[in-house]
Symmetry: C2
Subunit: 367 residues, 2 copies
């Protein structure tokens, strides 16, 4: 039996479903398609996942009958599920149902292995929030192939920040589950688009004084990064807090509501100063996680000056700024290393490559 | 009567007494001498001020019999005094006694006027903590003479940070007293040498976790700035927390005690990461004050892009970093503008110039 040509990587999050389609032909691997569907499960309901996956399948696989699918997830954290066990069960069963005709269906575990549906459901914590493990697997591959020995990977997405240290070519993390990662600074629940401003600051500068902030979902980090020119309207791929548009004026109007004002009470310049304050507080949060990890790396005798920061995600600018402040001196963009604009969907890409690696290895073994 | 040749500016702080001697000859003004005496009143006692001033007088005025003295102060805040009134009374009386032979004895008021001893004691709040007003007077002079219309002056000394905005050539502050300045962000009680680390952070990274800090006076901001290479041992002009020396090793030993460890429990690299965290927290404190002032300037319609940051003091590097983060884009060093390395004693220098200005004006008037 020849190697299948198509490998689908799937990253099922609570807010986004990300998919990468790889085509393998004559020894070359091509990223043939990328999709990111914004599908907040707590709004659209858990049943919506089946529809989203079917649509992705229709657009990705209409001409490919022989394919392998490899899934990682974080969606099990969504409060649409009773608990993580129920979340893993739902995601795995939905994937199994929609992609029942796949040659292989794999699930990425937190120890960067590929397991089957039955094992995933039995050991549900081993696949819960394991998308970082797909990235970690890819990092080791990059470290080996491109000669990076020591890396700190900083992936700032719309919602969260994932930090993975690679020492002597091996990823070494202290946290396996999300709460453990939050403890050790490997996960910071702050992102470049979807984070509620009131989860970043509890006061903002208001006409030269300090105003406490509203705890409504009035403005999000995307508004901050847009107002400061770090992202463009087209990078703001998630929903806005008021369901209005993504122009500068609309972002500024949302931010003006944070201290319970509006766009008539505050000038553009006054709101930009509010945004600067929120941005600095967010940089500090990422910096704190990085300095915690540096503190750990120093304690195990690592040479901190030898580390390369590898940034990924829509919040790359934030990752770079926080890394510089933490004392890192070498920086690369994972997209430049891989040669594809892949970083917004990196775990999905990595999951697909893991499957290719696995299937290719077993083909070699069986031949 | 001809213009006196010698003008002494005196800045009497609780921890430092700073003096500048100007010599005026043939229309040129020369800084002939500068002194900074570390004299913590709460340790050496309020009576020590007379001795310090006498020593300064002996070294500054041995060949100058005809001189004018101009005094500003912050020492009245020291808890060696019952209250500010008692502090002003003591400082003014001591200056009057030591410099009784001066041609004129002036005191700088918070509205940047020069008043006599009797008025100063009667209106003691008008001279309390007025050294910023001397700097403000100088800033207006610089703005007028050098064509800077809009300035934000950031003076980070050993102990405190003073911020003064100049708009259209006029200093505009909202706070007159220290507590008002603390409210409006014009005073931040944080400095580059003497600030207790536990007044900056309440936890530090420790071997990849977070340790609460001791509330002893184990390490000071000077240790942080030295460990990170921002200052050299010779810039560390104040006393250390343990009265030991100012080498890198000694600073690191002091910092290691902040999380109740010692220099055997932590490597140099681990302590440097602790220092980075403290430094970032301190930058944030100065940034907060600057963004509050920007917020105010924006609210009164000022064009923030037109402002030049003018830095002064041993913490210039901190001032520059915080200003950049606050969005300022133009920076000058007050020493470069004046053409003298005067910024560590700027209020004393300004007080002397104020006296020269005043005496010259009255000479012109009477001639």
């Amino acid at each position: 039996m020849s190697l299948p040509e198509v490998f689908i990587g799937l990253d099922v999050g609570g807010a986004n479903v990300k998919t990468v389609k790889l085509r393998v032909r004559g020894g070359s691997i091509k990223v043939e398609d990328i999709a990111r569907v914004y599908n907040p499960l707590w709004i659209s309901g858990k049943e919506s996942l089946e529809r989203v996956l079917k649509e992705l399948k229709n657009s990705f696989l209409q001409t490919s009958k022989s394919y392998v699918i490899s899934t990682c997830m974080t969606a099990e954290l969504s409060d649409v599920f009773e608990d993580k066990q129920a979340g893993v069960y739902h995601v795995v069963n939905t994937v199994e149902k929609v992609f029942q005709d796949a040659l292989h269906k794999f699930y990425v575990s937190t120890d960067a292995m590929l397991i089957d549906a039955k094992t995933a459901i039995q050991n549900y914590l081993s696949v819960a929030a394991a998308n970082w493990a797909a990235s970690a697997w890819l990092l080791e591959k990059i470290a080996g192939e491109r000669g990076f020995r020591n890396i700190v990977f900083v992936d700032i997405g719309s919602t969260t920040t994932t930090i993975i240290p690679v020492v002597n070519g091996k990823t070494i993390v202290r946290g396996r589950t999300d709460p453990e990662k939050l403890v050790f600074g490997e996960l910071v629940y702050t992102g470049a688009l979807r984070t509620n401003v009131c989860a970043i600051v509890d006061r903002v500068p208001y006409k030269g004084l300090w105003a406490r902030v509203s705890s409504e979902r009035f403005a999000l980090s995307g508004d901050v990064h847009l107002a400061l020119g770090f992202i463009k309207s087209e990078d703001y791929t998630t929903e806005t807090a008021d369901n209005r548009g993504k122009s500068l004026g609309e972002a500024v109007a949302r931010l003006s509501r944070v201290p319970c004002a509006d766009s008539k009470m505050l000038t553009m310049q006054e709101v930009v100063e509010i945004a600067r304050y929120i941005y600095e507080a967010q940089v500090f949060k990422v910096f704190e996680a990085l300095i915690q990890i540096r503190s750990w790396l120093a304690s195990i005798g690592a040479d901190l000056d030898s580390f390369v920061i590898m940034v990924a995600g829509v919040g790359k600018h934030l990752a770079l700024e926080a890394s510089r402040r933490a004392g890192f001196k070498q920086f690369v963009d994972v997209d430049d290393v891989i040669g594809e604009k892949i970083s917004p969907v990196l775990p999905a890409y990595a999951a697909a490559l893991m499957a290719l690696d696995r299937v290719a290895a077993s083909e070699v073994h069986s031949s």
